[in-house]
Amino acid sequence: MAELIALSPAGAALPKRIGAVTLTEAPFAPMTGISPHAGEVAQVSAALEAAHGLALPGPGRMLSGAGIEVLWFGRNRWLLIGAAPGDGLAAHAALTDQSDAWVSVIVQGAAGVDVLARLVPVDLRPRAFAEGSVIRTELFHMPAAIARTGAEDLRVMCFRSMAGTLVHDLVTAAEAVAARG
């Protein structure tokens, strides 16, 4: 029987380099939503640390290790990126596969904050949004999650179905920033 071919959300629309900014789609990675059962945040954090070496970060924060990231993702919710959830987590938390639910674009370059300032109402400059910061916010008309993964790297996540609009909005904003020279 023929195999099913996997397509990434942004597909051929990325990568793109516009001015001093690079837009790249993050490669496929396992993503799991982790919502601890009532009163079990500490157990989940311990289980996560045991399995992946990372504890649950506080609100608005993320932690990263070797190829693995844990993002605070809202009220009683975290997102584990880069590995299937380890044993021991399922006993204390609701786990949901979110690997295909998001389109993730890495916005790279010093002008990345200027590009996102056209779309996002939050101050994303390093002084206000340091490395390891995460926020659930909006990007133009879309719900979005944004994380600062490096000094000049921002990870922008939107619903998979909105990938086309996300790329369009980022490219438009990046062109306008680049045109200012």
């Binding site: 295909d100 909105m162 045109a179």
Partner: protein, 977 residues
């Protein structure tokens, strides 16, 4: 006339431009206004109502007269203030509101008739007959009056919106603003300095006064350069802060591309900023005000400060023989600057009898100008001094009636300015905007030294609020002349004296308003339209209310100002709505099958933000109906495939998940066994139906709820509200997985065989009975299978992770086509469900109950759930309510239309007799005639009754008969088989 030397213009870069069809030359650094004056262009446009010739009046954003249209075609921009448009190569500007030409305008007839068409004329004259107002009078008046017009074509220019954040926003870069910005920047604050002008510096660029012995403009340039070099400062030139909003949010319009000779691709014309600032310093300066006297609108009558700006900044003399008129020392400063530039000053008229002058120009203390003459430009000025009326030749008259602090932004949160008798002007009320500190001329401080000190003071205050300490910066030496004013608003006289130049409102109009008892300043404004033009009365509001105060025998403070509202200067809708034109209005949500569907020629329809295929046309089909009927036939007879990924999918887990579902659904779900699916209805608190859908039990304490496409968001919000607020004691976790799964319905008698061809382990006999679910392996991928049906056929929904959606859809459709079926779209999906009497939000429209839908049986009596008590109210279970039935046509004309109303067969088709309405209708190829669903009073009790169906909107009247909801396979044998 261009002076031989001087000015901050680049005389080495000459720029050609076009105005009113003629070519002229200016320099880099000019505005269109200064370049026109340099070329001795005096008439720039025609006035709004009387079509009187008008010329440049000011040198800033307050300009009421010199409005032009820039460019041609779709991108032409009307009502551009020539004083704000920087000159660029090949700029093309056209005058407005004149026909056939600027110098010979036919509608100048309005001016001759002016004594008959003063303020209030329209209201009194164009009243009868009533209907004429909308169709005859108003269109005619609108054509006759007005300024520039839009092209009517789609705007090809790009605009932009952006956000900025800072500790301190300094509004205005004159001496006060620069000093404030320097102080805050040195203290380490994150500073934004926004200035309206292309060249920051404010009055320092327009005056000859020195700072530390050097040119004021040099000091400003050095200060700006120093600020630009600091990493914690952003200098935003060409940026007007237009509005103040709650919690330190400011709107600001940046002119990004207007001044460039060649605009790079992708560069926006303008950017609308929303700036969030912890503190703000308002150093917006002041606007000079004129004095009203007869003929004061003649081209050549200008504000005195503007005359100095043209002399000192642009090296332009606005006239060859200039008279000066004022009531402060500004008049003397103007005369001195003119003399220094070698321009002949014909008279210096000072309204203050005690004024002194050392200048060697004809000086008339205690004098007032009583008239200005010259049709297409000022020729002479009449004035009274020492009890004697005399005339003097002048082609330019510089007028100063004092200065009005720019209090506008302090009033945007409903603050009212305070009258200051000492300067005869309104100043900001203390604390009018939390966190915003007015300083400098905006706070009524008018000397340069005073502004510098006040800017530093304001910054120190702001820094204190930020927990920073202000450094002690040295303050440059500057003039510190006192401000001596004798208030003068209007010179008495019989002839027309203008207050509002942009809307053609005169002193007489304002007095007339008072006479008609429009004594409140807000009423006067609306009666006369004073201050209602694009300039919002920047140069006229105060004089108008002073005249009103005089006419009504009140003081100015007592009369009060009208309300200042954002925006401070006009903001193009294109800038405020940047990015949202056309499809930018909302994000597009695309399914994984989107590309494949479009490739098959499927027209897409919008379902919320989603795009779904309407139908899949095949060669030879001429109408959508043919395609739809074929697709229905495939499902009824073979197998069809459609994308149902847009339905909301909510993963619900936790020890109390079952109890939670019992609370939100009318039915019981805690008893649902793993591997089983149940249909459910959820109500709002008011007992009406919110949404329906199936919920599958995937495992112990693990459920997957589906919602309708449209209600996915609202249901998620509802569930969060229930979990967080109503039942916080329940241990339940939920998350949307709508985007994670691509899900396809496979429907038709052949669907089981069909699926067995794609499942890695075919279903055994008895596997997956109706309403079963489970995990499956699909072509090597882990997926989920649900035996549910929205078509009435033996059907499944198969789900795989979204990355495989495209591949699976293509594989399924290809396989279905090999079995005499194929892909079907939303039209066929709708027909299939209507034949079965199944619901969508056309029926669950928010005003119906389970009782109305015939679903009372789904309301459990053994538990509590949201909406239960409210749904039991007698009014909601009344049998005579409009209840859902199917309708079939009778008679010759077989048509049923959604939106049509139902009447008893012998009743008149009037509102009072209406007994229901049609919610959905289609042609049923299975039954061979149209069918419909609709709500009918006591519907299920009237089966077999013939009704009138009347569609008043489309003008259709037919007959129909009431039928049971399900028109096809009522026993459900095909679904369960």
């Amino acid at each position: 006339m261009r002076l031989k030397t001087g000015g901050l213009i680049d005389r080495g870069t000459a720029l050609r431009f076009r105005f009113d069809g003629h070519d002229y030359t200016g320099f880099r650094g000019d505005t269109l206004a200064s370049a026109l004056l340099a070329n001795d262009i005096r008439v720039v446009g025609r006035s709004f109502k009387y079509h009187r010739p008008r010329g440049v009046f000011s040198a800033g954003s307050e300009e009421p007269n010199a409005l032009v249209t820039i460019g041609r075609g779709a991108g032409a921009e009307p009502n551009v203030r020539a004083t704000m448009q920087e000159l660029r190569a090949d700029l093309e500007a056209r005058p407005q509101n004149c026909w056939p030409s600027l110098h010979w305008d036919l509608l100048e007839v309005n001016d001759w008739a002016s004594r008959f068409i003063g303020a209030g004329f329209y209201y009194k004259t164009f009243m009868w007959p009533r209907k004429f107002w909308e169709w005859v009078y108003e269109p005619a008046i609108r054509r006759a009056a007005g300024l520039g017009a839009l092209s009517g074509a789609h705007n090809p220019d790009r605009y932009e919106k952006a956000y900025a954040h800072c500790d301190l926003l300094v509004i205005g870069a004159g001496p006060a603003g620069l000093m404030a910005a320097l102080t805050a920047a040195e203290a380490g604050a994150d500073v934004i300095l926004a200035d309206e002008d292309a060249l920051p510096g404010g009055r320092l660029n327009g005056e000859r006064a020195t700072l530390d012995g050097g040119a004021g403009s040099d000091w400003a340039a050095a200060a700006v350069a120093r600020l630009r070099a600091m990493p914690n400062v952003r200098v935003m030139a060409r940026t007007t802060v237009t509005g103040v909003y709650d919690q330190g949010t400011f709107g600001a319009l940046e002119r990004v591309g207007h001044h460039l000779d060649d605009r790079p691709r992708g560069l926006p014309l303008e950017c609308f900023w929303r700036i969030a600032a912890k503190r703000a310093v308002l150093a917006a300066g002041a606007i000079e005000r004129p004095v009203a006297f007869a003929g004061n609108d003649r081209p050549g009558v200008m504000l005195a400060g503007a005359v100095r700006t043209y002399l000192n900044r642009y090296g332009v003399a606005p006239g060859r023989r200039v008279a000066v008129f004022g009531n402060t020392d500004e008049a003397h400063r103007t005369a001195a600057d003119l003399v220094a530039a070698g321009v002949h000053v014909t008279a210096l008229i000072d309204a203050r009898p005690d004024a002194r002058s050392t200048l060697s120009v004809p000086f008339y203390p205690g004098g007032v100008v009583t008239g200005a003459e010259g049709r297409l430009g000022l020729e002479s000025v009449r004035f009274e001094a020492g009890g004697r009326s005399q005339g003097v030749m002048a082609d330019c008259l510089a007028v100063s009636g004092g200065w009005n602090p720019n209090v506008h932004l302090t009033c945007h949160l409903n603050g009212r300015p305070v009258w200051d008798d000492g300067i005869a002007a309104f100043v900001p009320a203390p604390g009018a905007v939390p966190g915003l500190i007015p300083c400098g001329a905006a706070a009524g401080v008018f000397s340069t030294a005073g502004c510098l000190a006040d800017g530093a003071r304001a910054a120190a205050e702001a820094l204190g609020g930020l927990g920073l300490t202000a450094p002690d910066l040295p303050q440059p030496e500057a003039e510190d002349a006192p401000y001596r004013i004798r208030a003068l608003w209007a010179v008495p006289g019989k002839r027309r004296a203008w207050l509002d130049l942009q809307n053609d409102v005169t002193v007489k109009d304002v007095r007339g308003a008072a006479q008609e008892n429009f004594r409140s300043v807000e009423h006067m404004k609306r009666y006369t339209t004073q201050g209602m033009a694009p300039d919002q009365g920047k140069t006229s509001n105060l004089a108008a209310l002073a005249v009103l105060a005089d006419a009504t025998g009140r003081g100015i403070a007592q009369t009060g100002t009208t309300t200042y509202r954002p925006p401070y200067t006009p903001v193009a809708i294109a800038a405020m709505g940047a990015g949202a034109q056309g499809k930018g209005f909302a994000p597009e949500r695309r399914t994984t099958s989107d590309q494949a569907s479009r490739k098959r020629g499927a027209p897409m329809i919008e379902a919320g933000l989603w795009y779904r295929p309407s139908y899949f046309p095949k060669g030879g089909e001429r109408t959508w109906r043919e395609s739809c009927d074929r697709e229905v036939g495939w499902v009824r007879n073979a197998v069809g495939v459609t994308d149902v990924s847009t339905l909301g999918k909510i993963d619900i887990q936790g020890p109390d998940a079952g109890a939670f579902l019992d609370f939100v659904y009318t039915g019981t779900f805690s008893t649902l066994k793993p591997g089983r699916v149940r249909y459910g209805i959820m109500l709002r608190e008011d007992g009406h139906v919110m949404d329906d859908g199936t919920t599958a039990c995937l495992g112990e304490g693990h459920y997957l709820m589906t919602t309708t496409t449209a209600a996915a968001g609202p249901v998620m919000r509802h569930l969060e509200f229930v979990a967080q607020v109503l039942r916080p004691e329940l241990d339940v976790q939920m998350v949307s997985v709508t985007e994670q799964w691509a899900q396809f319905a496979v429907a038709g008698p052949g669907s089981r065989d069909f699926l067995n061809g794609v499942l890695d382990a075919p279903m055994a006999e008895g596997d997956f009975p109706f309403m079963a679910c489970g995990e499956v392996s699909v072509m090597g991928v882990q997926g989920r299978l649900f035996r549910i049906s929205f078509s009435g056929e033996h059907a499944y929904e198969i789900a795989v992770p979204a990355r495989y959606g495209d591949a699976l859809f293509r594989a399924l459709v290809t396989r279905a086509e090999g079995m005499g079926g194929g892909a079907y779209g939303m039209e066929a999906l709708n027909v299939l469900r209507l034949e079965k009497g199944l619901l969508t939000h056309a029926e669950m429209h928010g005003r119906v109950t389970c009782h109305d839908l015939g679903l009372s049986g789904l309301m459990s009596s053994r538990k509590d759930y949201i909406g239960r008590a409210a749904a039991a109210r007698p009014g909601l279970v009344d049998p005579e309510r409009e209840r859902l039935v199917a309708l079939h046509p009778v008679g010759i004309e077989k048509r049923l239309l959604p939106g049509a109303h139902l009447f008893a067969h012998d009743a008149p088709a009037v509102r009072e007799a209406a007994e229901g309405y049609v919610t959905s209708a289609c042609h049923s190829p299975t039954l061979g005639h149209p069918i419909a669903l609709g709500f009918l009073k006591s519907g299920p009790e009237r089966l077999g009754e013939t009704l009138r169906m009347v569609d008043h909107l489309r003008g259709v009247e037919t007959w129909c008969v009431v039928r049971p909801l399900c028109s096809y396979d009522p026993k459900g044998e095909r679904t369960r088989g």
